[in-house]
Symmetry: C2
Subunit: 435 residues, 2 copies
């Protein structure tokens, strides 16, 4: 089932709440909203200095929106970007990295339905053509236009359709075009991942918005995480880059649906400075803005995981102790273990699988004196089972958000990974489609 | 569903052949039988110098056999062993490694239904008790008895049941007890993994047998791979260790059902020398015996993969080029990718997922000029899609054994991994059971 079919069928797997008032954006205990952050409604629009649009250009067979354009109209915007670390990056990633002024972007052209990955020199040429067309359409230089694509790997970009789409999108650019832009970048997403926030700072109030896509991986619609962040605050390029880097590391870098790094992951933040608030490096305001950005991206990352194909339950694994590479390896091993993920899916507190995954990740440490707790109930101490309230554990394992804590010998490191379960629906969606 | 339930229900997922003559043991194109190797029937029994038994001692609730005993009666047997590299090895692994003369084993005590893993100091004591009891029962020293367990992690070993079972097994030790022994070590296996071979050497004919277990991982019956190999040839401890080491590396080390390293993996070879053939180091016979052992263990490894929980299709990924760590990382990434595995399950030649998995495994190499072929049909050259016969590719992807070949830039390395697909049955079996 494609993303578009999901949307058409009205699938709404975003947890059990479905009626009444809109759910708050900050809905996970793992990403509480800072006190100085206020959620604006879905119709609040973009921060000052931004316009966006989303149109149907014909890449997706479903006829759903598939081309998004985001423009910053402010005179001297500042930006920052992060990309996938894969050895096989898609053409839009390479073009954005190699041909853009990533600290001074004025526009983003994003499409869904085609990843433009594994397309070689032709893919690069195709991407460059769309970059040039978007630049002309919105009146900026090509190196001020970042590209982002998501969809099937190994297919060439339908350049003509995109050029037509750019012309169609241009007159539709609006300050409240973020909802259309969001729809145009979605693929297999079954719910919207978008926020408009107000951030109270000492020097005034800033606006902060983001549109994000990402879910499971559906053949051949290779799902990817894209995130575009806008603020009307003024930041130096160094500050923007620092804050985006730190916050991406604490959010998207900590999320795993199935351990499969994309060819197209892209996160871009553009700061228009049109709101009148300027954030000085190393100031209290930088800290507070950073806290808001951190909460925003963490909640979005948790939403990516919760929308993982077929996800019923999600979990956070926290590893403390040892040195960082070990803690990181252990956390990733648990988050990506099909045995842990199927147990999570079944509401089964099968902690032997957690012990197995940690042990497998840390060869040469035998016998490893690990501790394991599930939802605060300790089940393993120094590598051996400990008596615990089995009924309470069974009950805890049936929650929708589970927390696994793992202690390794020694002090110092601490890391976390958010992950989804593994369901038959994930397999069906990814196995039953044939190219 | 438990392994025992599988057997009772008569599940027989071992490929499409079900009637008529018994299938040959060497049935995969990836493990052809050497010319000097002849398959003996299932009733051929063990090589000279060995006896085995399998009994019900009451660990498994199903009442199926769960305790196996293997004894070598020859005066000066030689042996070799390999174990899991996990940081969290089970007690029987630690006891075998630390308290056994691994080059001079005379017996193996193996149980299914309980892994005796994550059981701390008590687990070690329990294992040592059963080792001592087995030694007394068969009249050897405790350090000549290796232990192997498979089953649920985090449960303590039912020592009393095992002691009773040892007494029951002793009078049942027989030269043709290998079939009973095989049944006693199985957990979630849905078919037997056992062979009796005759190996023609320059200096005479040697017998070579093996009993092996392993399938998917079923909660909470943590499946493990165990393999016990017997020969009546005489080998030096160094030769035995060398050959077992090389052949394990080319077989069990290259197999993955779900990328989940067990706490209990164990492979033990015992050479009775009772057959009159002696294999000198660096001789032509060593080479021929090694070829036979290699084919035996490779076929068993392929059978493990084919019996992976819910497996419908299996595949081999071969990576050539680059340096070995890169080739190994790429092969493992493909073999363990849930996207590649679901595509394999669905008979979908979705090679974009292969490119994604390889790219993700090799950060810092962008843009990576990889080649990809499926069943000899090249689909990607130097990182970009190439025209190919789409109908032939679709047809090839529907076979039961698929071969993926990946070329990396540069010369030198070559590696392979055998793996199973990922099916809804794997998820059901592992998610629906609750402890």
């Amino acid at each position: 089932m494609s993303a578009e079919e999901h949307t058409q069928a009205g699938v709404e797997p975003d947890g059990p709440v479905a009626t009444g008032a809109p759910r708050p954006f900050f809905r996970s205990r793992w990403a509480p909203a800072p006190e100085h952050v206020r959620e604006l409604g879905a119709g609040a629009g973009l921060p000052a200095g931004f316009r966006a649009a989303g149109v149907v250009c014909g890449i997706k067979p479903s006829g759903n929106p598939d081309l998004g354009l985001l423009v910053c109209d402010a005179p001297g915007p500042v930006s920052a970007a992060r990309f996938t670390t894969t050895g096989a990056p898609a053409a839009p990633v390479l073009v954005s990295q190699q041909r853009c002024r990533l600290g001074a972007l004025r526009a983003v052209l994003a499409n869904s339905g085609c990843a433009n990955a594994a397309t070689g020199a032709r893919g690069l040429d195709d991407a460059a053509k769309t970059q040039g067309a978007a630049a002309i359409a919105v009146g900026v230089d090509p190196d001020e236009v970042a590209l982002a694509s998501t969809g099937a790997i190994s297919h060439y970009l339908p350049v003509e359709a995109i050029l037509k789409g750019i012309l169609e999108a241009r007159p539709q650019l609006r300050a409240d075009g973020d909802a259309d832009f969001q729809r145009a970048i979605q693929t297999t997403d079954s719910f919207e991942k978008r926020a408009s926030l107000e951030v109270r700072l000492a020097s005034g109030t800033a606006r902060l918005s983001a549109q994000c896509k990402g879910a499971g991986m559906i053949s051949p619609r290779f799902a990817t995480m894209l995130c575009f962040i806008e603020t009307d605050a003024a930041l130096s390029p160094e500050t923007a880059d620092l804050l985006l880097g730190v916050c991406v590391k604490r959010s998207f870098d900590r999320a795993s649906v199935d351990g499969q790094l994309s060819t197209n992951d892209t996160a871009i933040m553009i700061c228009s400075g049109a709101g009148g608030v300027s954030i000085a490096p190393a100031s209290e305001d930088e800290l507070r803005f950073g806290e808001a950005l951190d909460a925003l991206l963490r909640q979005l990352a948790i939403m990516l995981v919760a929308d993982g194909e077929g996800a019923g339950r999600i979990a956070r694994v926290v590893v403390r102790g040892g040195h960082l590479p070990s803690a990181e390896a252990a956390a990733r091993a648990v988050a990506n273990s099909p045995l842990v993920k199927t147990a999570l899916n079944g509401g089964d507190p099968n902690w032997g699988r957690i012990a197995q995954a940690v042990g497998a990740a840390l060869p040469g440490t035998a016998p490893l004196a690990m501790d394991i707790s599930i939802e605060g109930i300790q089940v393993c101490a120094a590598g051996a089972a400990v008596p615990h309230d089995e009924a309470a554990l069974q009950q805890a394992a049936r929650g929708l958000e589970l927390e696994y804590e793992i202690g390794l010998p020694g002090e110092g490191a601490e890391t976390e990974v958010f992950f989804s379960d593994l369901s038959t629906r994930y397999v069906n969606v990814n196995a039953e489609y044939t190219t």
